[in-house]
């Protein structure tokens, strides 16, 4: 497949934005929490699951999306939300618990909800998959050619919701694409200790849909697989499952000692960092010059810094706002 240069470049720019966003959140997360780590303290309290290393999964899907398409993501949602174009300022503000956030501080980092573009995520493993089926069902009933994309970790593929959703999607021929972000670990449990087969993409055949494995955390591989799956879905040819081998470069959550992964494992991951490999490839193929890459990175950083500044300087909600928004 010939990939438009603009898409290749946009994928890099978005990866740079994601990585820098995660780096800034990580740094700010530790403010006022140390030396004795206190999860409740600092400008960003609570759990924090960052997606450094998983950028390719998100950016490879996004060039194929159209207005009106819907996404559900997981407890590790930032990369997907950023790639989809969820408002960065409001997203950052939500993570800071501010009134200007996507949910006025109600949801926080695991509960980011955007109307346009349509994005939702959840802290419960597997929870987004049936919801994506429902979005796809709505599109079908409304005669739209929109698609729903459900991102989930390989750990979620052992949850009942995964199997029920795949069956529903195939049975009802829904325009939905399931994207498994296989970073090999569900907190401390490796896939080999949780999953009876090696490749979750093989499970697609049990539900009568195509299953594609994208090895090697490659944005271009994701782009190709997602392009085909999304075309199928838009054409009314039903759902697909894509499994991407990706990397969780940091701990499961911030503060995770990550003792269950060896130093060699972590070193090997670092050597495969997509934020190094992908721009090198674009440069070696003459798609970008090093100067272009720097300029894109700089622009991405500026946008992130602005969003973070907006979040920091925004006001908190009033305490009694807790009582608002329970019902419409």
């Amino acid at each position: 497949m010939e990939i438009p240069r603009d898409d290749l470049v946009a994928m890099y720019a978005t990866m740079a934005k994601i990585r820098y966003f995660e780096e800034r959140i990580k740094e700010i997360y530790y403010e006022d929490k140390l030396p004795a780590f206190d999860i409740a303290a600092g400008p960003i309290p609570g759990e924090m699951h960052l997606a450094a290393g998983q950028e390719p999964v998100a950016v490879g899907v996004m060039p194929h999306l159209r207005p009106g398409d819907a996404i559900t993501a997981t407890h590790r949602p930032h990369h997907v939300a950023i790639a989809q174009g969820v408002d960065l300022k409001q997203m950052a503000a939500e993570i800071f618990g501010k009134d200007t956030g996507l949910g006025h501080g109600k949801g926080g980092h695991m509960h980011l909800f955007s109307v346009e573009p349509s994005f939702g995520c959840s802290g419960i493993i597997g929870e987004g998959m049936p919801v994506a089926c429902g979005a796809a069902l709505a599109f079908k009933k409304q005669g739209k050619d929109n698609v729903a994309i459900s991102f989930f970790g390989e750990g979620a593929a052992n949850q009942g919701a995964f199997h029920e959703s795949l069956n529903l999607a195939a049975l009802w021929n829904l325009p939905v694409v399931f994207i498994c972000e296989d970073n090999e670990f569900a907190i401390s449990v490796p896939k080999s200790a949780s999953t009876a087969i090696a490749d979750n993409s093989d499970r697609a055949s049990a539900y009568g849909m195509p299953g594609v494995l994208v090895p090697d955390n490659d944005p271009v591989g994701v782009y190709e697989a997602a392009g085909e799956a999304i075309r199928r879905a838009r054409d009314g040819r039903g759902p697909s499952l894509i499994e991407v081998r990706t990397l969780r470069l940091w701990g499961h959550f911030e503060g995770d000692a990550d003792a269950y992964r060896s130093d060699e494992y972590k070193q090997a991951m670092g050597d495969k960092d997509p934020m190094v490999r992908y721009p090198e490839r674009l440069i070696s193929e003459g798609i970008l010059t090093p100067a272009d890459a720097d300029a894109l990175k700089k622009a991405a950083h500026e946008e992130v810094d602005e969003a973070i500044e907006f979040a920091r300087s925004s006001p908190y909600p009033a305490p009694e706002d807790a009582l608002k928004h329970v019902f419409a």
Binding site: I39, A40, K106, G126, G160, Y316, A322, V326
Partner: protein, 340 residues
């Protein structure tokens, strides 16, 4: 208790892990399963060190398949084992509740008492650290509402060990809830009440007996879990005002020690219930009803409650603090009742 027995202090987290380890040593049929309970030692340390001691056959990491492994615990319990299954956060019960309340809790009854389900379902509860609405709930009222399972919530390291040993030896399913803020975890806000004397040898604390953790004469503050600590701190402030608060740690909701509630209210004539769970249709209403049924003529003021105001737990700190019980709310609530 002898001096040597009281010398050793443990956090509640270590007391729980010690209790499980001692029971595993005593009884081959006891085993543990759950997500990250083996190599990681449990996200909240409830199984710390057990994988190294007992190996992967008895301390089993599971896939993220709660319906599967909790249902499997039920099956193993029916067939001669005493499983301990960990549901990492109670908030996750949604994906597996059928196995819990339609199966674990009902098999004994359906069998006319012939089949036993001796298992423990451990789970972490509670908020206050901005983990938002899917990782901060207590939900003990939800479990207590459904017949057939005991519901235990320790507030001290001593009780945690004794109640865990009782739970493992119980022939009934026991839901054992530990409040994250009461465990004494290094990564939670430091809580001095989380550490206390724990005897080294195994011992039991009976399930269904409330505990008067502070005696008083003016008002009964009935509560459970981390709010016991909040109430103890509030009682100090109230004492300086000349208000003598009696703190009743319920320790379990099922069975509920109704006699202890009635007895304390007969003595103090006032009742304030502090509940980190949702306000309506839950523990606070049940405890107040118990007092009205058993000590109506003794009450000098309408019973009061401090509870979560029936909203999902918000993420942002100011809103979360507004929603959850704290020392100030207990102090002002008690003062208001004294002047009522």
């Amino acid at each position: 208790m002898t001096a040597t027995m009281t010398e050793r202090k443990l956090t509640m987290q270590k007391a729980i892990a010690e209790a499980i380890g001692q029971e595993m040593e005593r009884d081959d049929t006891v085993f543990v399963m759950g997500e990250d309970v083996a190599v990681y030692g449990g996200i909240f340390g409830a199984t710390e060190g057990l994988y190294d001691r007992f190996g992967g056959e008895r301390v089993m990491d599971t896939p993220i398949s709660e319906t599967g492994f909790i249902g499997a615990a039920v099956g193993a319990a029916v067939h001669g084992m005493r499983p301990i299954a960990e549901l990492m956060f109670v908030d996750f019960f949604g994906v597996c509740m059928d196995q819990i309340y339609n199966n674990m809790a009902k098999i004994h009854y359906f069998s006319g008492g012939n089949v036993k389900v001796p298992m423990v379902l451990t789970t972490a509860v509670g908020g206050g650290y901005s983990d938002a609405g899917q990782h901060s709930q207590t939900l003990w009222g939800t479990f207590a509402h459904l017949p057939g399972m005991k519901v235990v919530v320790p507030s001290s390291a001593y009780d945690a060990k004794g109640l865990m040993i009782s739970a493992i030896r119980d022939d009934n399913p026991v839901v054992y809830m530990f409040h994250k803020g009461a465990l004494g975890l290094g990564w939670m806000t430091n809580n001095p009440h989380a550490t206390g004397p724990v005897p080294e040898e195994p011992y039991t604390v009976p399930i269904g007996k409330a505990n008067v953790v502070r005696e008083g004469t003016d008002i009964t503050i009935a509560t459970i879990g981390l709010s016991v600590h909040r109430a103890l701190d509030a009682a100090e402030t109230l004492a300086a005002d000349g208000i003598s608060a009696e703190i009743l740690d319920l320790r379990s909701l099922v069975p509920l020690d109704r006699d202890a509630i009635v007895e304390s209210v007969k003595k103090t004539h006032r009742l304030l219930v502090v509940d980190e769970d949702y306000r309506s249709f839950g523990m606070s209403g049940e405890v107040i009803t118990t007092a009205i049924e058993g000590a109506f003529d003794y009450l000098d003021a309408p019973p009061g409650r401090i509870a979560e105001p029936d909203v999902p737990i918000p993420y942002s700190r100011p809103m979360e603090q507004f929603a959850l019980p704290d020392v100030d709310k207990i102090v002002s609530g008690s003062r208001a009742m004294m002047s009522a």
